[in-house]
Amino acid sequence: MSNSKIDLVNAIKSSFNDKVQIQMGQLGTAAINASNDLLREVLKVLLRADEKTGITAITGVDLGVNIGILYHIHASNAFLTIRTEVPKENPKIQTISDLIPGAVFHELEVSDLLGVVFEGNPRTGHFVLTENWPEGVYPLRKDVKANEIKLNPSPKEDTKPPEIGKLVKIIIGPQHPALLEPEKFVVTVDGEIVTKVEPRIGYVHRGIEKATETRTYIQDVYLVERICGICNACHAYGFVSAVEKILKTEIPERAKYLRVVTLELNRLHSHLLTLGHAALEIGYETLFQYFWRDREPIMDLIELTSGNRVYASLMTIGGVRRDLKENDFPRIQKTLEELKKKLPFYRQIYEKEPSIQARMKNVGKLTREDAIKLCVVGPVARGSGYDIDIRKDDPYEAYGEIPFKKIVYTDGDTWSRQNVRMDEVEESINIIQYALNHMPAGPIRAEVPRNVLAGEAISRNEAPRGELFYYVKSNGTAFPERVKVRTPTYANIPSFLKTAVGENIADVPPNFVSLDPCFSCTDR
C-alpha cells in the first residue's frame, strides 16, 4: 500500500528533478510546488502512473500579491496537492479540464469566487453567484468585505414560452415538486429523449466559506455544521479534524469511537431518507412512507446521543462534547436490531418488485471508466464498480480498527446505486454495534491550545453522499484564513449530465435522485 504512494512521488521526482519541490507528509501524502507552466506536465505524469488519478478539489487562496491555486489530486493510495500561483493583476492559467474532465466545475467555482481565468475551460459565466453580481468583485478575495457588496438591479426573468420546434427546453426548478431545494436544470428534449442537461446552481449559496473567516474556530464548528442539515456531523467532523491536524492534537480513544457512532448514525438516517425519496420519485409512495417510518427511530437515537434531532453538535476541537451513558447502550442496540430485521423485506422489494425493476434497472448507466474520468465519489462511484471509500482507503478515527465491508456494485445504474445504500445501512448498523461493544473507557476530550498556530491542513471523510473534503488554513489569529469545502454532490453533478443524455425524460427524476443530491452542501 505504501509502495504506490512513494512510487507516485518518485515518478514526479525522476521526471522533474529540481524543477518541482516536494514536501512529504504535507496536505495529504505530499505537497508539490510547481510553477504555472509545469502543472499540466506534472498532471500528465500522474495520470500515466495511476489509472485512478483524479481531481478532488481546486482551492483558491488570496495570498496578497498572488492568488494561490491548490490542485488536490487523488490516486489509488495517495493524495497529492499541487501548489501553483498566479499574479492577482492578471490571474490566468491553462485549464486542466481536457486532461481530467471532472475538473470543469471545480475550475468554474474558482473563477466565479476568486476571478481566476482558466483558459480553455468549456464553460463560462456565473455558476455559483447570481446573474446580477457586480463585475470585478470576487467575494473570496481579502479586500472584499461581505457587507459592502452592492448587487446590480436584477435582470428581468425571461417569461416567454419556449419556441415550439423540434427541440423543447424543459425548465426544472428553481421551485419544482421533484426538487426539495431550489436549483435549476434546463433539460432539452427531442420528443421524449433528453439531448442535453444544463445545470444552474447557486440558489442556496450563503457565502459560508467567506463567513468562516470572520468567526472564531469554535464558532466555525457550528457554522460549517449548518452547511447541510442532513450530513451535518460529517461537516463538523471535517472541519475539526483539519484544525486538529494543524494543532497536532491526538484525540482520546473513547472520543474516536463516539465520533464513529455519530457519523454512522448520520449515514443511517441519510441513507434511509434518500431511499424513501427515490421511491417517491418513481411514484411508489408506500415504500417512501415505510422508509421514513423506519427512519424515525434513528432520529430518536440521534436525539438520545446528542440532545437534538437534527444538529448533533457533538464534534468539537479535541474530541466530543457529550459522553454516551452506559445504560443507553441497550436501547441503541435494540433499536438497531429492530431496523436490521426489517432490511430483508426492503431487499426483497428491490429484488422482486416489478415497478422498481422497470424504473431503476438500466437507468442512468455510468461505466467505471466514466466514473473515474468524471471523478465521482461515494455510492455513485461504488455503484459503478469504482471502489473508493475513504473509511477503508484512508482510515480516520476508529475506522481502521472496526471490521466492515466496502460495498461495490458493478452495473452502474440507478438500481445499483440504491442497493449500495441499502447494503451500507446494514454495514452502518454493524459498525455502530461493534463500536458500542468495544467502546474504550477514558476521557472524551483532549486539552487543546487556545491559539491555532499558522499552518494548513486537509481532511477527508466519507459522508453519506461520498468523500467530503476540507482544507483549512490558519494565520495564527483567532480566525481562520481560508476554509474550503468540497462536497460530494458537487463532484457528482457531471455524472448526471452525462447519464441523463439519451434517456427518456421520465427517467430524469429517478436517475437524478440516485445521486442523493444535496444542494445546500453543493452551494454552501
Partner: protein, 189 residues
C-alpha cells in the same frame, strides 16, 4: 344564508389548508422536518394539511431558509401566484431572522424582508411538533374557538402576545384581515 356561506368558507379553509413549501436557501434541516411531518409518525394529514406542488392551489406558504439573493425574486413570484387569502409561515431561525447566516454576502436574511409573515416558528430546526403547533395556531387564529366571558378579560394585548422569536406566535396581518372582511362583505351582498 350569507352567514352560512361565510361559515362554510372559514370551515373549509381551516379544515383543509393546502400548503406549499419553498426552500429559499435553507440547509435542508427544516425541509426534511417538513417532509417528516407527512410521514406516519407525525402525519399532518389528520389536520387536513396537504403538501401542494403548485402555488396556484395553495393557501399557506411555508418558507424555510435565510432567503438568498437568487431566491428572493422567485419567492416573491410564488407569493404573487397564490390566490387570496394567503398566509406565510416562516420556519426555522434562518427564515425568522437570517439566523447564523445574517450578514453574509448573497443573503437577504429573514423572510419578513420580502413578504408579510403571519407566523414565525423558531428553532434550528424546529421540531416537527413545533411546526404542527405553529400551523394549528395559525388555523385557530383564523377561526378562534369560542371563549368563555371570564377568560376574555385575561387576554393579553396584541403586541405583548407576540414576543418575536421567543415562542411560536401567530399574527394575522391587517392586510389579510381586510381581505377576509372584504370576502365576508361580498358574500353579504
Amino acid at each position: 344564508m350569507s352567514k352560512t356561506v361565510t361559515q362554510i368558507l372559514t370551515w373549509a379553509r381551516v379544515k383543509s389548508p393546502w400548503v406549499i413549501h419553498f426552500n429559499s436557501g435553507a440547509c435542508n434541516g427544516c425541509d426534511i422536518e417538513i417532509v417528516a411531518l407527512l410521514t406516519p409518525k407525525y402525519d399532518v394529514e389528520r389536520f387536513g394539511i396537504k403538501l401542494e406542488p403548485s402555488p396556484r392551489h395553495a393557501d399557506v406558504l411555508l418558507v424555510t431558509g435565510c432567503v438568498t439573493e437568487q431566491c428572493a425574486e422567485r419567492l416573491k413570484r410564488i407569493y404573487d401566484q397564490m390566490p387570496q387569502p394567503k398566509f406565510v409561515v416562516a420556519i426555522g431561525a434562518c427564515a425568522c431572522s437570517g439566523g447564523v447566516f445574517e450578514g453574509n454576502y448573497n443573503v437577504v436574511g429573514g423572510v419578513d424582508k420580502i413578504l408579510p409573515v403571519n407566523a414565525y416558528i423558531p428553532g434550528c430546526p424546529p421540531r416537527p411538533e413545533a411546526i404542527i403547533d405553529g400551523v394549528v395556531k395559525l388555523l385557530n387564529a383564523l377561526n378562534p374557538p369560542k371563549q368563555k366571558k371570564q377568560s376574555k378579560q385575561q387576554e393579553v394585548p396584541k403586541e405583548e402576545a407576540r414576543p418575536k422569536g421567543a415562542t411560536t406566535d401567530v399574527l394575522i396581518l391587517p392586510e389579510t384581515e381586510k381581505i377576509v372582511e372584504e370576502e365576508k362583505e361580498s358574500v353579504k351582498q
